[in-house]
Amino acid sequence: MDVLVQLILNGIMLGSMYAIISVGLTLIFGIVRVVNFAHGEFLMVGMYAVYLLSLHLGLHPYVSAVPMVLMLFAVGALVQRFIIQPLLGADEHIQIFATVGLSTALINLALLVFGADLYSVQAPGVRQPLSIGGYTVLHAQVVMLASALVLVAGLHLFMQRTPLGRAIRATAQNRNAAQLMGVRVDRIYVIAFGLGAACVGLASALISPLFPVTPTIGTYFVLTAFVVVVLGGMRSMYGAFLGAMIIGIVDSLSGYYIAPDLKEVVYFAIFILILIFKPTGLFGFGRGTE
């Protein structure tokens, strides 16, 4: 029983990490209606930047979170403006190829610049265990969970309470109608893509102390994030959050009870089953076949 509770706790901590990445992916898909295959590479770029800031300026990764959020917002906005926007009217497969191409280019650029070596970021204190009622978690994991909750709550308030949030929601629901109401849809898309990428900026700062950065680290995380997003119904931030928790727990339990190297097989199997049998996601927040 103790083991089970500890595993579930681990799962929730892992889930909060996936949540931050997946919420960003969901924002982009839900609003711009483009699946960003380069999302993981944004994370990778952020993690290398965190590493460089720590190495050269001695910045703690958590301090780097602020510049990372800003930098990735800019990256996302630029990608939307110069790559996605010209392709909005193009065939779907062209949009897929564009982000896949961006992903390939970024992975290999990192390989060219940094080589295939692992780089770890030093972050004093964050890997310290913390004991809660006999169960242990790391400080970094608690920060992750708190950040995920604050992120979702913050985005919720932003979407519901601000005029810009309302314009974004209107655009997500009906591109044309929003445009007729005077919403500058192109600008909304740039902001939405920026926000989605900014989420990964936050994630890169929080993940850096826990995982060493490699050129392919993004692929590792983003495939899981895709599973989460599909599970959560593609369009919904809250669905993505819940989906991330479920995948975190599945990851933790199957790693222990089945085999550590088969945990991905378990959630990819869930992914395929959800896509095929319940494309609206587990909670019915969206539609997968559109």
Partner: protein, 611 residues
């Protein structure tokens, strides 16, 4: 665009002549000459490195060509295609290791396994669209890769698997690398031939139709799942053969390279760069991009790690932004026009099929019945216990205000919607009542329909659009084209037959809807507002066309808002309002029916007129 010289149909004595005629076509001899360079250059240069580059070109061009059958022709963007390559490689290597089976046989076992896996993956995934299909294929690739690592006792796991080194042709392992090139080139030629054959066959047209518009393809009697499955099976088998060969060339297998996501993306990328859905595109893309990568690797060594991938990625983004049709898609027509100026045999002139066959049967007998059709969308009842009978040889007009449920009724009697309750009965050629399950089955039973919102295959020409319909009754491309030409003449589209459908004005698009449906040779024709948006001359032509069609024995049921036209055309009228049949009978009586006037003009009008 196709070179229509059939070898198989020629009598034995004429085969040689047919072959010579085929070779005399400029498009054929220039293609063959260009292809032979892949073999000639490495033989002349005679450097192991160049041979390696060309073997790699053959393998990736072949993989990309095979991928293009699914990704290009069928438009299903698989990004996990290396799963079949890996299966081919591992099956062949393991069969040598455990059973001493020669790779020449092992590769076919691998292909069979891959085909089976492709059905297992394709059948459930084909209902997914665009990015979700791509994601599902990536997920399958990852699952197989992880399983290959996990069951290391069987596959060698991450440590890898070394192919037993037995030299010679029997084992497909050579000291002189040039022998690999012969095999790789042979495989590439075979794959290109398969790809060309599909492109210019009924299957190729059906795949394009399914890619462009699934509903319109169903209405033309094409089973979407069937044709996509055929494409993925052929593609998986070919991909697997290349995997088997490449395993013998590399002699070392590990899950990371055999089930590589990066390579899966690369082969798709080569096809896009060269031209998605074209025969030559994947080869062209590979020839342009692979040498850059291999030369960079050869000259710069490990310091260039990642350089080729970076170039690939940048090129891919640039192509999507500037040349989404790829090289072959953008420049192909111009190059073909140049090649056609060379001396040689020309494409055979078009043939037109004889007139429509007359449909047999007793006029007046029921051909289609609906029994208490109820269709509910959530709280809305779109059709409410609709029972109508369609009689052979009549023109039945269906009228009613907007939102009355007319199109919903059509969707049910053509199989696009399954009624909430009630049944549709079609009487087949032998007079037996049947209820088909899917839209394409309705079409094959002789129920042809048009769509209110026109559904052309935009990137196909007018004649090709009509051929999609004609393929339901004809298997050969020539016969389908002949039948399509005859119908193009009948409906008045002959003068625009080679125009791409997306460039047509609405009047012609409406006629194209009718033409494509007519080409399926229906015995029952469902016309959904084919006169809407037409000017008076066009409307008059359409009325005459419908009469001509009826005179060949086709039974017509038409939804129409153009009252004058439908009243003069119909033998009988059914009026639907709020999902219910409120009147039916002779047109002259129906227009005087109080409930019909109410439905159209409101109760107040009826009262005011004192009717």
């Amino acid at each position: 665009m196709t070179v229509r010289v059939s070898l198989s149909e020629a009598p034995p004595a004429g085969r040689l002549a047919a072959l010579m005629a085929w070779l005399g076509n400029p498009r054929v001899y220039t293609s063959l000459a260009a292809l032979s360079l892949i073999l000639v250059i490495p033989i002349v240069v005679d450097s192991p490195f160049i041979v390696h580059v060309f073997v790699t070109i053959c393998v990736f061009a072949g993989l990309s060509t095979a991928w293009n059958i699914v990704g290009g022709y069928a438009g299903q963007l698989s990004l996990g295609h290396m799963v079949f390559y890996g299966i081919g490689a591992y099956t062949t290597a393991l069969l040598i290791q455990h059973f001493g089976l020669t790779p020449w046989l092992g590769m076919w076992v691998g292909a069979a396994v891959s085909v089976a896996v492709s059905v297992f993956i394709g059948y459930p995934c084909f209902r997914l669209r665009g990015p979700f299909f791509a994601l599902a294929t990536i997920a399958f690739l990852e699952v197989v890769r992880l399983l290959a690592i996990h069951f290391h006792g069987f596959t060698g796991g991450s440590a890898g698997l070394i192919v037993p080194l037995k030299l010679g042709w029997a084992w497909m392992i050579f000291q002189d690398k040039i022998n690999y090139l012969y095999i790789a080139f042979g495989l590439l030629l075979a794959t290109l031939a398969v790809s060309y054959a599909i492109r210019t066959s009924r299957l190729g047209y059906c795949l394009t139709a399914v890619r462009e518009r699934e509903d319109a393809a169903s209405a033309a009697g094409i089973s979407n799942t069937d044709v996509k499955l055929k494409a993925v099976m052929i593609s998986a088998g070919l991909t697997s053969l290349f995997g088997s060969f490449h395993a013998m060339y590399l002699t070392f297998l590990e899950p990371e390279t055999m089930f590589s996501l990066a390579n899966s993306v690369s082969i798709a990328m080569f096809a896009l760069i060269g031209g998605l859905g074209t025969v030559a595109g994947p080869l062209l893309g590979t020839v342009l991009v692979v040498p850059i990568a291999e030369l960079a690797r050869g000259w710069l060594g490990a310091s260039a790690n990642g350089l080729h991938g970076f170039v690939y990625g940048v090129v891919l983004v640039l192509i999507t932004l500037t040349l989404p049709g790829g090289l072959a898609g953008t420049f192909g027509p111009r190059v073909t026009a140049l090649i056609d100026r060379l001396p040689g045999r020309r494409v055979a002139p078009d043939r037109e099929a004889p007139a429509l066959r007359h449909i047999e049967g007793t006029p007046g007998e029921p051909v289609l019945e609906t029994r208490d059709l109820v269709m509910k969308f959530g709280g809305l009842t779109a059709t409410d216990h609709v029972s109508i009978t369609l009689r052979r040889g009549e023109i039945l007009g269906v009228i009613g205000p907007n939102g009355a449920g007319k199109t919903t009724l059509f969707n049910q009697i053509s199989g696009f919607l399954k009624p909430t309750s009630g049944t549709v009965v079609i009487y087949d050629a032998e007079g037996r009542p049947v209820t088909p399950a899917r839209a394409d089955e309705y079409a094959r039973l002789g129920v042809g329909r048009t769509f209110q919102i026109v559904q052309p295959f935009g990137k196909l020409t007018v004649i090709e659009n009509i051929m999609i319909g004609a393929f339901m009754r004809h298997t050969s491309v020539d016969d389908a084209r002949a039948a399509a030409l005859r119908i193009a003449r009948l409906v008045g589209l002959l003068h625009v037959k080679d125009v791409e459908a997306r460039n047509l004005p609405i009047g012609d698009l409406k006629r194209l809807e009718v033409a494509r449906t007519l080409a399926t040779e229906p015995s029952i024709l469902l016309l959904d507002e084919v006169m809407a948006g037409q000017n008076q001359t066009d409307t008059q032509k359409m009325v005459e066309l419908i009469r001509t069609i009826r005179d060949t024995g086709v039974t017509v049921i038409a939804i129409e808002h153009n009252m004058q036209a439908i009243m003069s055309l119909s033998d009988r009228i059914v009026v639907i309002d709020s999902g219910k049949v409120i009147a039916q009978g002779d047109p002259r009586e129906v227009v005087r029916n109080r409930r019909v006037i109410e439905a159209y003009l409101g109760e107040d009008f009826v009262d005011a007129q004192g009717l």
